[in-house]
């Protein structure tokens, strides 16, 4: 005899809603409470940010103070200082172009086709070089602009990119040294890594910016900006070294033994066998570390740099726009959010992709 299985009729839309949100009294209460909170917050936010906000600059600060909502005209009036800081007015296109170069460089290095050590190094070297040339000038007919005039988003990006550029190779060195078979080398490196990790980043930045000049001979001191970048790179590399080391531990020992049996020398084994596999294991944690250190570059504001946060403070801090602090902070938060959120979404995507390929 043939059995005929009849599927139950698909639930209607109302029935579906009831099942999803009002299955039990408790569910109903939770749903209603969440809905109320969401509608209330969304309404408040929209009302403030859109409906009763002032967008045009024509009315000046007075029009803003009369309105109940957000005063986006402060952004319209002050976006240049937020993005470019004290960079000379007529040269600011260079600063903008330099930011674009960094973004393009980051996007390129997210594409798997470029994931070989040489290509990544090439992209980052070229990108940073281009950024530096555009910002500093002095060649190709570009006017010279010293580091003391850099500011805003461009300075934030510069500090972040150079931190990674110095910190990443340093992290690999530290990880290799810590894995060394010679006990004194691995122990000393471990001491350095753990020491740096146990300190807050602010104290390291402060030490490099303010204290280090006492301990260095004159010819080694360099600009304060580069000292701070060095400090932040050291901090980055201490954390990244542990991530790389974790990735190396995930590589089966047979791999290295096989390479040894083939007669490969130490550097060949490291660069051809161990590191590529280790970096693949460490990829999600590495992206996460990049995200964290991008957020943490904002701390350089404390040792007196005119990066995006400081230029935001300056944008509302003087004179007529004094009341519009929420709008400025919201705008800067939005800029950070775009960078950090897209990078962390990319990290999550990569993690999913890798967990699929491992099965």
């Amino acid at each position: 005899m043939e059995m005929v299985v009849v599927a139950p009729p698909a639930p209607g839309r109302l029935e579906d809603l009831r099942r999803r949100f009002f299955a039990t009294p408790l569910q109903a209460v939770v749903s209603l409470a969440c809905l109320t909170i969401m509608v209330f917050l969304l309404w408040k936010l929209l009302n403030w940010a859109v409906f009763s906000a002032v967008f045009t600059i024509s009315g000046g600060p007075e029009a803003c103070q009369a309105a109940a909502g957000a005063c986006w005209s402060v952004i319209a009036a002050r976006w240049r200082i937020i993005f470019f800081g004290l960079y000379p007015y007529e040269e600011q296109w260079r600063s903008a172009l330099a930011c674009v170069a960094v973004v393009v460089m980051t996007v390129l290095s997210c594409i798997p086709a470029f994931w070989t050590g040489r290509r990544i190094a090439l992209i980052w070297g070229a990108g940073t070089g281009l950024f530096y040339m555009l910002m500093k000038g002095g060649v190709l007919g570009l006017a010279h602009v010293g580091e003391e005039a850099w500011g805003g988003l461009a300075l934030t990006l510069f500090i972040f990119v150079t931190t990674c550029l110095i910190g990443f190779p340093l992290a690999i060195c530290l990880a290799l040294l810590r894995r060394s078979e010679l006990p004194w080398i691995s122990r000393t490196t471990g001491l350095i890594i753990d020491g740096v990790r146990s300190l807050p980043l602010i104290s390291i930045l402060f030490t490099f910016a303010v204290v280090l000049p006492f301990a260095l001979p004159q010819w080694l001191q360099g600009d304060k900006l580069y000292r701070v970048i060095l400090g932040s790179a050291l901090f980055f590399s201490a954390y990244q070294a542990e991530i790389v080391r974790g990735g190396m531990q995930g590589v089966a020992t047979g791999q290295e033994e096989a390479a040894m049996a083939l007669g490969m020398r130490y550097w060949q084994r490291i660069s051809r066998i161990l590191l590529p596999q280790a970096m693949r294991n460490a990829m999600p944690a590495t992206i996460n570390q990049f995200v964290i250190s991008f957020k943490e570059t904002s701390l350089v504001v404390i040792v007196g740099f005119f990066e995006i946060l400081a230029s935001g403070n300056a944008a509302y801090g003087t004179g007529e726009w004094r009341f519009a602090y929420v709008e400025v902070y919201a705008f800067i938060a939005f800029i950070y959010f775009i960078f950090v959120f897209s990078l962390s979404r990319y990290g999550a995507f990569l993690e999913r992709r890798m967990s699929v390929s491992e099965r």
């Binding site: 939770v30 204290v211 260095l216 946060l309 959010f337 959120f341």
Partner: protein, 387 residues
Amino acid sequence: MVSPLRNQKVRNALLQVLYVGSIAAMVLAGVVIARRNLADQGITSGFDFLFKSTGWDVNFSLLPATANDPYWWYFLIGIINTLFLGSVGLILATIVGTIVGLARTSSNDLARLLGRTYVDIFRNIPLILQVFFWYAIITHLPTPRSAHEAWGFLLTSRGLYIPFPNVGSAAFAAATVAVIAAILLPAWLGRTSRLAQPIGQRRTIQFAAAAAALVCAAIILAIGRLPDTPLLDFPALQGLNLRGGLRIPPEFATLAIAIAIYGGSYIAEIVRGGFKAVGTGQVEAALSLGLSPWRVFTLVRLPLALRAMLPILANQYVWLMKATTMGIAVGFTDFFMIVALTINHSGQTLEAIGILMAGFLAINLSLAAVFNRINKAIALKSNQLRS
């Protein structure tokens, strides 16, 4: 003749000596140069300055402080301020994180969406920006004369004023300890190894212990109460200033709020991860034994999730403790700010940095030690988290 350099052991020894030696040489050279530079400025090295008076003031302190106090006393104040701010921030962040994390693991789509929005927003904005934001909000609150008022709380640009019981500070501290004991005692007694009674009787003992501790707190408050004053001291406007109640300075409130909200978004993810690590088999087994959803939660999911969370949570707590150093951005006198001020005022650069490192090392190590103890005490003897 064989060159000694061809011998692997000799080469290894040489390499190690070279590596450690060059690092030691760099550090040593730095110290020597710094000493000479500081001596040129007329600053003598050594720790004698710890006993000189500072000559400047701190804006927040749990201990009495005047400008005549010596440096070592200020360092102590700084460490206590850091620990106090850190613990307040940690407790608040844990509360926020638990609520948001539970919302993210709930079966309700709306609650999940709400939790996710919260985490996405606050995780992706730097903490220092949030600190600046809350500080701007708080310092732009109205003056004491036109303060926002709600249930006896006053919100002003000079700080947040809350009603406070009229008791001496020593009695208040003792009562706080008693209340903490009332929370911790039942948990401590709940361990099977402490009491041999079955669960039902154990619960009575736990309740009795908590009640006893609370009664103790009440008695301490009653004895310590200042004579001829009402039970609660409400802040009120007197002349141009606010009198009474407890004033929470803007700097402290800013940092506590920022750490609670930012840290909460991270702890929420840890909480979510912890619940995800609990095997579905465990929950299904509990349900099939006929336990109610609430008891499944308190007896199976929560204890197992807690064990999965604890190591990551410990890391997060250490990080949040270090984040208190952002107080320097708004002028809260935490440990780092005291060190920075010391360097500015006394010039004892190397010594102050040494104290800073030692202080944070001690804080980190003791936090890690406490969490290791807890972790070891509650760890499951076999791998019971998997399904």
